[in-house]
Amino acid sequence: MPDLEQKEVSPNPAAEPAPRPAEERYFMRFTREQRYLHAVLFTTFLGLAATGLPLRFSDSVWARAIAGSVGGFGAILFFHKLCAVVLTGAFLVHVKDVFTRGLLHRQKGIFWGPTSMVANWKDARDLFGHLRWFIGLGDRPKFERYAYWEKFDYWAVFWGMIVIGFSGYAMWFAPFFAHFLPGWALNAVLVIHSEEGLLAILFIFSIHFVNTHLRPDSFPMDMVIFTGVESEKEFKIKRPMEYQRLASQGLLDARLATAPPVWLVKFSRIVGFTAIFIGLTLLALTVSEYFV
């Protein structure tokens, strides 16, 4: 972890979306609701990971230390359930929001089209194009509003919410779920909950962290999910297709935003680095269970 802290002291100037001279334009990417949703998601996810991993690896030394630090065996389960309930609430709010906008208000681009989270042929082409670019066999694909790995992140969380949530509640209220689940399913839900949780933890704390925050284009952290806005330069590089589309439709000005206030950037950086630090610590502990 010293790496991270060191980087925080001397951030990479090329990738910092720090306040620039007045001519730098900023564009809105995420609404306030989306940023809050992400904040609730990562806070509860960190809480769930920190209280779930000690249960998964309960015979390790650190498991007992973590359990002890939150107030012991009983408290760790309480906090796990508390985070789970909050996250479930956020998930339901999000699903309701999507369906209200898409079905009730007939808002375009929710279920299909370039701004939708639903995968399309372009995503498949982008994936192969991106892989070809990795090994120098082609140009970098021009990504739309949501790139294929971002859609994967979204659906992985969506699927994970349902799978982990359902199996978790099945364990929490096992006698109730036993009314319509066979006996062996009560054994299976722990395996499912535990493996899917482990997948989520390993994925978020390694793949998502690197893809979204730690890769050279965004290093050390992509602030857009915290501030909601990104600079024109970043927008053009990361999502050229969307930029072109908005420009050609004359919609670019509608997305113009003001530069993020300094306090928000600073606050977001502290919160973001704390989250990444906790995540990487938990990742190291998890990996240590398999390789140490």
């Binding site: 090329a14 000690p54 249960l55 998964r56 309960s58 015979d59 498991a63 007992r64 359990a67 002890g68 012991g72 065996f73 009983g74 760790i76 389960l77 991106h130 892989l131 670019w133 990795f134 090994i135 120098g136 790995w149 992985a156 364990m171 096992a174 006698p175 109730f176 036993a178 009314h179 689940l181 066979p182 006996g183 062996w184 399913a185 009560l186 054994n187 299976a188 722990l190 395996v191 499912i192 493996e195 899917e196 482990l198 997948l199 390993l202 994925f203 390694s206 793949i207 690197v210 893809n211 890769r215 050279p216 284009d217």
Partner: protein, 430 residues
Amino acid sequence: MGERSIVRLTSTASTSNRVPQSVPPGLLQNSRTRSVVSARLRPAALALGITLLAFGRVHAQTDCLACHGDKSMQDASGHSVAVDGATFKASIHGSLQCSDCHADIKEYPHPEHMAPVQCSKCHTDQSTQVSESVHTRASSHPCTSCHGDPHTIFPKSDARSTVYPLNVPETCGSCHGNANMARQHGLPNVYPSYMDSIHGFALSKGGLLVAANCQSCHGSHHILSRKNPQSPTYKSNIPKTCGSCHAKIDMDFENGIHGKALAAGKSNAPVCTDCHTAHAIQQPTQSEFRMQSTPICGSCHKDKFTGYRDTFHSQLGLLGGYVETARCWDCHGAHDVLPASDPNSPIAPANLVQTCGRCHAGANASFVQYQPHADSRNRKMNPALYYVRLFMNTLLISVLTFFVIHTILWLFRSRYEQIRSRSAKGGKDA
């Protein structure tokens, strides 16, 4: 030690007023001055001589205490040979005369070196028992090593006795609480374990006379090795030994599968001490005991233990302190463990709803199909669970493998682009 303990006399005696006033106390301090003493005490010696002539033996404590009542009296090697007359009079042997034990004293003055006192002269049975016990092997276990100062021995019902129930652990612990001694003899250092055990607490904190002390299980004079089939601590005798207090539990145990296996001569069947330990016995409702005892069952029932460890009961329970998650005996019973085929067993199919329902309110017939130690790696036994686990593992490994490769390639490519663009701008190759 034997020789020393014979002359290890009490030092708490109050200054005896039986010492003749004419004798300066300093003169009695060592044997070099004894001839002087004799000279100064000539009248007393004369009287003693007359007494001896009259009765043929030294018979009165008062005669001996005339000298030995001085608490500063020492023998040639500097050991105290003083006797507190008042305490001795109150002790269990207070009605005896000195020469009853110190039998080789026939006259005064008596020789400086005397034969060790033979307790066995009166205590024949105890002496025989000790000679058959583990304590005869060394010559260092005279009666006094447990019973203490020979002139202040009290009945074991007297709180002043070294073998009064509340004093026994400390008496035995004077040797068996010594780590060096334990190592030398290949014994566990049991005294600290006992004192921290439920029996030790009952005795030291509650002062319960009925709390098991060392001799409740090991006996006193006839202590035998636990390898000796006659010993109360021999494995197959342990249920009866513990059962002498815990009678109901002994009955339960004998009705259970472990008790029956033991009775059938299966020596690997567990007895009380295998689960509870011998000396460090914990309150079974305490988390320490609940934490340590599941692996004890698991040391024989290995396959069940492996499966159990994969369950939520085990995972939460292992975090320490949590007393509520089910451990083996919460479902199987502790002492009267019965197979599921026995209708009286808590895990008999007909009883499962009730057994699980003790913790899981609302448990139904489907709920109790849950397997508390299912092995998800066993395809034949648990096919559904096996394939669920296989699917989840395949998903986990394939997703991570793909994205790890994807991310690593991306990292290299991005870094390459970054360096190239900086070079193009004439910047440093960062």
